[in-house]
């Protein structure tokens, strides 16, 4: 089979603690307005700083609303010839928690509303798709979903793909990261010497990815995967380095072609040291780097998709965002963006790393 098609992001929408639209999201990122707030609804943790969507709609209603926005802003009349690819880390975990915590009884749990597929079921209750598939690789889930979209369009198998990255905040994730000792009570400070952890957050991010460009397209130029084969939660720099190198190779680009890296940058000691070392090993100190998680929080399975949207907005606005909260840089051999700046941006690389040493780097580019 000849591999020939180009891959374009033609429409995207998002809702997160950092804004109820892409416009709000990017404005808040550029103006360093964080959506992270202390929240006392998680009683086992002392007021953790987390990111919650501010909306009158339920998470499921927002899921449908975001898909409708995509449809309204597309050249499609429906999704019947579209592949739906979901990336989610926890799926319907919140449903299970809500049911079980009522009476501590298993009979209240609907197993079909527990798993990852339940989010697809919500979307398909309103829209008919040609087919669907869901990836769940923890915090790389929706980055891998975009990688799969790249693969099926590049190979000419589909013309239209809707990627949805979605994770709702729940006790399991807040409590779990708290148990690991990586949850901060403050807005996170990625790549800062004095960083004290991450902010769990929720988001829905949708991207319509097609084989034909439209007036405002951004190209998906390449994807790189790797596995650390090292530890369940401690990253190994070789894994992230290999993902970035594989993405550059896939995109047929050199490191110096990249203008901006949207880092995974969670604000944990382990991730940021490892990722900074990997970036230092692959790129020159000219490439600007920032993490946007101090504005959005770590949206877990949705992170790859929302950061892909941020990457497209960086290219469309020719604007590199600052590293909010970064004061005392740990690794001075990488070029961390300290203030939002207008720059010529042709190519952006976005990193996503996950439990189990699952790594995915994506390269996006302006359309020539």
């Amino acid at each position: 089979m000849t591999i020939k098609n180009k891959v374009f992001i033609n429409s995207s929408t998002s809702i997160s603690c950092a804004g109820n639209s892409n416009e709000e999201l990017f404005l808040n990122i550029c103006n360093c307005n964080t959506g992270i707030k202390n929240n006392s609804n998680f009683s086992y943790e002392n007021n953790p700083a987390i990111g919650v969507i501010d909306s009158n709609l339920t998470f499921d209603e927002n899921l449908i609303s975001q898909c409708q926005k995509i449809l309204d802003n597309s050249n499609l009349s429906n999704f019947e010839d579209t592949l739906l690819i979901l990336g989610s880390s926890v799926g319907g975990m919140k449903n299970t928690e809500d049911s079980y915590f009522k009476n501590s009884d298993y009979k209240d749990i609907d197993i079909n509303k527990h798993n990852i597929q339940t989010l697809i079921d919500v979307i398909e209750s309103k829209y008919k798709f040609y087919d669907n598939i869901a990836f769940s690789t923890a915090c790389t889930s929706s980055a891998n979903a975009i990688g799969y979209a790249y693969d099926v369009i590049k190979k000419g198998i589909y013309k239209n793909v809707l990627v949805v990255g979605a994770d709702s905040i729940c006790h399991t994730t807040v409590g779990g990261f708290s148990a690991l000792g990586v949850l901060s009570n403050n807005v996170c400070k990625p790549f800062d010497k004095n960083r004290d952890g991450m902010n769990v957050s929720e988001a829905i991010a949708c991207l319509l990815i097609q084989d034909q460009k439209t007036s405002n397209s951004i190209e998906v130029c390449g994807v790189g995967y790797s596995s650390d084969a090292y530890h369940m939660t401690q990253p190994h720099p070789n894994g992230s380095k290999n993902a970035m190198l594989n993405a550059l190779n896939c995109a047929n680009l050199e490191p110096e072609n990249i203008n901006y890296i949207n880092a995974h940058g969670t604000g944990t000691m382990a991730n940021d040291t490892s990722e900074a070392n990997a970036i230092e090993a692959v790129f020159s100190s000219k490439v600007k780097v920032s993490s946007t998680k101090s504005i959005t929080g770590h949206t877990l399975g949705a992170a790859g998709a929302i950061e892909a949207i941020i990457s497209t907005l960086v290219i469309q606005n020719q604007t590199i965002p600052s590293s909010t909260n970064l004061k005392d840089i740990e690794n001075k051999n990488i070029n961390l963006s300290l203030q939002t700046s207008k720059e010529k941006v042709t190519y952006v690389l976005s990193n996503s790393f996950a439990f189990g040493g699952n790594n995915c780097s994506l390269v996006f580019g302006s359309v020539k």
């Binding site: 089979m1 009683s43 086992y44 880390s89 799926g91 975990m93 299970t96 928690e97 079980y100 915590f101 501590s104 009884d105 298993y106 009979k107 749990i109 197993i111 079909n112 527990h114 798993n115 990852i116 597929q117 339940t118 697809i120 079921d121 087919d131 669907n132 598939i133 869901a134 990836f135 769940s136 690789t137 923890a138 799969y148 693969d151 099926v152 190979k155 198998i157 399991t172 409590g175 779990g176 708290s178 148990a179 690991l180 000792g181 995967y225 790797s226 596995s227 650390d228 084969a229 090292y230 530890h231 369940m232 939660t233 070789n238 894994g239 996950a354 439990f355 189990g356 040493g357 699952n358």
Partner: protein
């Protein structure tokens, strides 16, 4: 669109309650690692020992995730107890195949699909699409549902623990093996497409399947 795959190797195992003979002690000699493994991870490691992995790309799937870890977390939260860090790190859907990557030093692309009852059907589709690149792909589908109070959640699955692995590659040859999702013995629907293929696999002849994308 149809993509044909040659099934090069196949392995499967199942039990109505608890698969006991997984050879984990021999396959994972380090106790510190072994005691962290989830049941799904032990099944995956057993299946991997029956086929030649060779640092291939892996498409893994599990519909219901790491049920025992999830249950433990729910209990901890409900009882206002601290969640075990090990249990939390073992609760993600890609846990089982991540342990496999660590134990086999597989640094290649490893995907985890969770598509409900269609999980193994989607593993086959994703595997077929990836196999177009020309490399051999490992496909794995596992469920480990034997947890406390499972009878309150389950009324249709008879086999609570099932695992199946296939090693495949792209071929232009015609299909020699038909399969469907018939499930008369009440295995989890999520594994049935791959399990039906593995049960028909004959190592003495060519096993070519047709995947409808």
């Amino acid at each position: 669109m149809k993509i044909n795959l040659e099934v090069l190797e196949a392995s499967y195992i199942y039990d109505k309650e608890d698969i006991k003979d997984l050879n984990t002690k021999e396959l994972v000699p380090k106790m510190v690692t072994r005691r962290r493994l989830t049941k799904a991870a032990k099944i995956v490691i057993y299946l991997a020992s029956k086929i030649d992995l060779n640092n291939n790309r892996i498409v893994f799937g599990i519909a219901y995730g790491e049920t025992k870890a999830t249950q433990s977390i729910l209990h901890s939260i409900n009882d206002n107890e601290q969640i075990s860090p090990t249990v939390f790190q073992n609760s993600v859907y890609n846990t089982a195949v991540s342990y496999l990557s660590m134990l086999t030093n597989n640094t290649n692309e490893i995907m985890t699909i969770s598509s409900g009852d269609r999980t193994s059907a989607n593993i086959l589709k994703a595997g077929a699409i990836k196999a177009i690149d020309g490399d051999e792909i490992i496909l794995m589908s596992v469920e480990a549902l034997n947890i406390e109070n499972i009878d309150k959640l389950n009324n249709c699955i008879d086999y609570l623990e099932v695992g199946v692995a296939l090693k495949v590659r792209f071929t232009k040859e015609s299909k020699t093996l038909d399969f469907d999702n018939t499930n008369q013995e009440n295995y989890p629907n999520s594994v049935i497409d791959m399990l039906n293929i593995a049960k028909q696999f004959n190592p003495d002849k060519k096993n070519i399947i047709e995947i409808n994308i």
